[in-house]
Symmetry: C2
Subunit: 156 residues, 2 copies
């Protein structure tokens, strides 16, 4: 199997597969010509990674999960603890976004959106007491070429 095949079968872009090799996350053996020799084991690990990433685990957490994945003696409490951390992060983020959404909804609702310059949104930005330090932008549309994915790159 060449890298193109694993890419297709694992659902990860070729570039990503190579990237995971670069950073030492999963490193397949090489053939004499330098090509990556991709066996089933490698394929399974990549698919595992894809799923872990899709659940929002960081690369470093994936590294840990992968070592636990390979450890037949692992205790499930280790895994559960990592998952709990991620769950807490997600729930926290949801709360923050809901607050943002509420504020914006209110502003949008109050703005006439016509030709005139009067605008509650602008007035708010010009005067509102900041509710906290600047947060990063949310779920910006990305240059990803994958149309099926609703994207969520750069939630930074």
């Amino acid at each position: 199997m060449n890298i193109g095949d694993v890419s297709e079968r694992s659902g990860l872009p070729v570039k990503t597969v190579r990237y995971y090799d670069d950073i030492g996350l999963v490193c397949p053996p090489r053939r004499a010509n330098g090509y990556r020799e991709s066996g089933n084991d490698y394929l399974h690990k990549l698919a595992f990674l894809g799923r872990a990433r899709s659940l929002g685990f960081s690369i470093e957490e994936c590294r840990t999960l992968l070592s636990l994945y390979e450890d037949r003696e692992r205790s499930s409490s280790n895994v559960k603890s990592i998952a709990r951390t991620q769950l807490a992060r997600i729930d926290q983020k949801i709360e923050e976004l809901q607050a943002l959404s509420g504020t914006l909804q209110d502003l949008v609702r109050r703005c006439r959106g016509d030709e005139r310059p009067e605008c509650p949104i602008m007035e708010d930005l010009a005067q509102r007491r900041a509710s906290g330090r600047a947060k990063p932008p949310i779920s910006r549309p990305s240059p990803k070429r994958d149309p099926e994915t609703l994207d969520s790159r750069s939630m930074q």
Copy 2:
């Protein structure tokens, strides 16, 4: 006013204020010694930016908002349109995160979290059909030194 003062008054870190100057977002005049000459106008724009960023607008959107902010002839529909886009992004992201949270909650609940290796979370990662292409990590704890901010760096 020196940069340290504007930083304190606007709530933006000094580094960030300089960064916004670097990228041409807001550029104060300079004094003979090269120091930034920070007037009230500058301060207001920085505060405006801080609030816009805290609502999740990207730097490029902030650039637009800032030009609208300075345009006494602007139409509120322009502003509203930008705000609506951001609102849609946020709501979309909330939905995605709620789905993730649900999945993880289920997995965590089913995992015993003891010394034994059996683990529904791992089994899921090992076999689940990916529900989509890998998504970026969510709301990872960041190297930010601001303890009051609940952080949300790198929602990528």
